[in-house]
Symmetry: C2
Subunit: 576 residues, 2 copies
């Protein structure tokens, strides 16, 4: 069960419930070698609040000692860890050794027996650039095994997307796997691409799969855990990552940073404030025994990874994930070029990316202009507004001058734009941009404008009634009761409406948030972040709110809020 | 006394000696309010290895209690700190209050009395955009006071560059101040520009001043301490920064990061691993008493600042400072636009930036192509090489195909370039690129090529004698004894020569590094990073080495190495 708490791009802060345990995503699942615990899961929990780990059921199964211990005590007691334990199945070993002497049924039954939280069937990871026919054959085996696993298991199950670098096979894999009814979708066999810095291929694979998967099932980018690449793949909709890198790199004296890997022997200082780096110098570490050094480097590597997830979540919360990624991709040219491929997938991404963010966008290079949602914003501005005046926007070209303080046209650039538009016209055109041509005239008929202390337009008033307020942070209109009524009369259904189940209409009317499961219909042209009208099944007006999810997302979610309502415009704390 | 240990751009890792104390630059000088120690200098030393602080002699002087304590005990005992103490003079107060009731002579004598390490005269900080005449008048006062201070003080002295936003006054200020004989050059009155995010104006001011100042005197960007902007200004040649921001921001519940400032109340998590952030959440801090919270935020702010200097120094060491800055400037559009102004100063910067770096350059956007030194490299390639074949380089345009593995043409991009050039031709053309047309033919006459195990060309051999080896990391030639001889015959003086004082010629001949103070002449067309010939004053060949400083830098330095020699080519550990 998965629920979205905040969104930016295709990235989301999610609440993933696994049985009675809850994991906040996006996050990393450290890979635990059950035969050799360099850092114990308990220590990870204490140091990093690790609430999910991944280990390999095949390795446990192949060692008679581990197998018996796991059967006797269960995997949680064996690893001394009460968080979520995900297990892989031996697929990785299959990629290396062809035959591993265990069947899909055996490994699924074994995972059931030892009590893992999320199990994996014995999928076939097809390497990049394998012939199409082989990849297709492997894929069919993978799908058959996933279906078998689904029948053999009651609990949460991974449904891995394969298909090598053949995008139509990745698409088919995702579509068919989505039909199996899995709880997580790993995207498999991308490790060789990461090792070759083929990030652009991974972008194509992830976005192809995302188009076919349910947005309500978390996606795990299998084998990806370098902190440098995390933010890009979160932006593209990956929720879970795993990392053996923290140990593998440590064994090789490699030190992870958010902008790449450094060799310990080439480092002057540790540019990090984690306890390892504060207490030691590169020189100290090189003088230590291998085991001690590996453990310390592994700890640093985990520190820097968890720290990066905090930054990524903060960026989603602020609506600055695109800006953050545009900074991070400068860590490596291959990552930068991979980011530029996002342009090719703009239409898909624009369906899910919020049209409105909490923060003004930053212009930091030509790629900024390619953000998918900006195209939508610009075409709305051009189609809906008949401008009193236009200005040449350095990024967007000619735009209505009335929108210069409105997201995303209010972008931070080298200079401020100036407009000479009467205030009333400005407000009307903002309304037209938001709700369609004519909405502005309707909202402003017979209305007056009130001003803030700094003399900016604060509200459109009709007598004592608030028609709408202008939100200072993004220059968009928030509807008051009178505005809701006017807009509801002006716009024919289904425009700008979210239809709420009659059974809960009274709650929505009393300003309770509207949960996805009670949404009975929606204007499919809406985007998340928009101001919308709430109506019951008979189109009776209930109020207004901010649409948090995209129309294509809502039907998939059994949990979580679809429309955030507000207790009247007076309570809106963003006005100034 | 200042010495350069490593360079990149105009940035340098320096060893700054103040009396018997030594400070490694670039670094931050935390501003200490002598009346209220929120974090004591001793605690800073323990936590951050703080080896220099800055405080205000005027504040000490204006309080009878502090003045007497300082006179009695000295400023070091008063602040309980044995590192370098720099003092400002009250100029800042002058900017705010016009008259502060103390003379230049009084404040200099007072700084002498209390034993500060680096004193400051009472310069006049002229605000940005002040009328030219006022700025000029202020500047003349500043210069007169600096001269008076120089006469009144034996020890180290700041010589502050003023001139408001009038670049010709900044230029004059720097030129005349350089003549006063100061030990540090602060660049003053830029705080109002920083507060308005006018980073582009600061770029112009810094680069204008740098053109007139001695490279052997450290430059202090006065009042600049936000971690977001540090790397850019280190790249432009600033060595010292100071920060009251760590406390001022903390008092205002603002949290510093390398990509901007965050408001505590808008933070979900602390994206940082410093002890403060590991032990507390934003929520915790907001619930604390103001004093406790301020202290903790101030500690975090210092942590993040010192951590950034470690990254910056590591980047200089690796030769990746440009790449690092191109990532950091994406933290804010105004910083990004400021970075783009570097293009306007390319000719100046290209004189000092090393032509060769330890690391391959990363392409991360059109600005990468504008790096000043690339223009030099490209024009050398086009003028010196008559190519067997050319390839279209995505960044540089047509280049000799033989240089695709040579810095900077070996840049990391989205694809690898391919060349079909006979190896001998390739090596000859690399030599022509490095040393001028014809050098390749001369070095390769009668020579054979030896290969590495991976079948790349390793060396040019003449019988058993090494003419040159190809350094794997940058594809450049390192001269062997035979190559030195051939090049010395081929190139007429002063080409590619560094002339060593006859008195130390025998040391250079025995492969000792050559110190700046013993350089008697140099080919002024050379750039730091180049492979050069060492000769005595009679043009007798002594050996070869890597030029560490630019020809325009060497005469200014009394300390430090100008040419790094090597114990023969065999000892070169970069070959493969």
């Amino acid at each position: 069960m998965f629920e979205i708490k905040a969104k930016d791009g295709l990235g989301r802060i999610g609440r993933w419930q696994v049985g009675k345990k809850t994991v906040e995503t996006p996050t990393i699942m450290p890979v635990i070698n059950p035969g050799k615990l360099i850092i114990t899961p308990r220590e990870m929990r204490e140091r990093f609040d690790t609430d999910v780990i991944i280990t390999n059921s095949y390795i446990i199964y192949s060692s008679s000692r581990l197998r018996e211990r796991a059967r006797r005590k269960g995997v949680h007691a064996m690893l001394d860890y009460d968080g979520v334990i995900v297990t892989d199945s031996g697929s990785f070993q299959l990629m290396q050794y062809k035959d591993i002497g265990v069947t899909n049924e055996e490994i699924i039954r074994f995972q059931n027996e030892i009590g893992v939280d999320v199990a994996t069937s014995l999928d076939i990871p097809t390497l990049p650039d394998e012939p199409y026919e082989k990849a297709e054959r492997d894929l069919e085996t993978t799908l058959a095994r996933a279906r078998e696993a689904r029948a053999l298991r009651d609990g949460p199950l991974n449904g891995t997307v394969q298909g090598s670098t053949h995008l139509d096979l990745r698409r088919r894999s995702a579509r068919e796997m989505a039909g199996v009814g899995c709880d997580v979708h790993p995207i498999g066999a991308v490790v060789p691409l990461f090792l070759d810095y083929r990030f652009g291929d991974v972008v194509d694979i992830v976005l192809t799969a995302k188009q076919e998967l349910s947005p309500a099932v978390p996606v795990h980018l299998f084998g990806a855990g370098h902190p440098m690449a995390l933010s890009l793949f979160v932006l593209l909709g990956c929720d879970l990552f795993d990392s053996a890198a923290y140990v593998l790199y440590a064994k090789d004296n490699r030190y992870l940073t958010v902008s790449g890997t450094k060799k310990l022997e080439e480092m002057l200082h540790f540019p990090c404030m984690c306890p390892v780096c504060r207490e030691h110098t590169p020189h100290d570490l090189l003088a230590m025994d291998d085991d001690v050094r590996t453990r310390l480097l592994a700890l640093h590597n985990l520190h820097v990874t968890y720290e990066e997830f905090k930054r990524i979540k903060q960026a989603i919360h602020e609506g600055t994930l695109w800006d953050f990624v545009e900074m991070r991709v400068r860590g490596h040219p291959k990552l930068y070029y991979a980011y530029r491929k996002v342009k090719e997938h703009a239409d898909f991404m624009a369906r899910f990316d919020p049209l409105v963010k909490r923060s003004t966008a930053f212009y930091t290079g030509e790629e900024t202009a390619w953000r998918p949602i900006f195209k939508t914003a610009l075409s709305r501005a051009r189609e809906r507004v008949k401008p009193y005046q236009t200005v040449a926007h350095p990024i967007f070209g000619d735009i209505p001058a009335s929108l210069i303080h409105t997201y995303p046209f209010n972008m931070e650039m080298d200079r401020e734009l100036e407009a000479d538009v009467p205030e009333r016209t400005m407000v009307e055109e903002i309304a037209d941009y938001q709700f369609g041509h004519g909405a502005g005239a309707r909202l402003c008929t017979g209305a007056t404008l009130s001003h803030s202390r700094s003399d900016r337009v604060r509200s459109i008033m009709s007598g004592d009634e608030v028609v709408a307020t202008v939100r200072a942070r993004d220059g968009l209109l928030i509807l008051g009761t009178e505005g809701q009524t006017r807009l509801h009369e002006f716009l024919a259904p289904p425009h700008y409406r979210v239809v709420v189940d009659n059974e809960v209409a009274s709650y929505a009317e009393a300003h309770s948030d509207v949960f996805s499961k009670f949404v009975r219909g929606i204007d499919s042209g809406l985007l998340s972040g928009e101001e919308v009208l709430l109506v019951d099944e008979g189109d009776r007006l209930l109020g207004s709110g901010t649409l948090l999810l995209a129309p294509d997302e809502i039907p998939h979610f059994k949990r979580g809020v679809a429309v955030r309502t507000r207790r009247g415009v007076e309570a809106e704390d963003d006005q100034s």
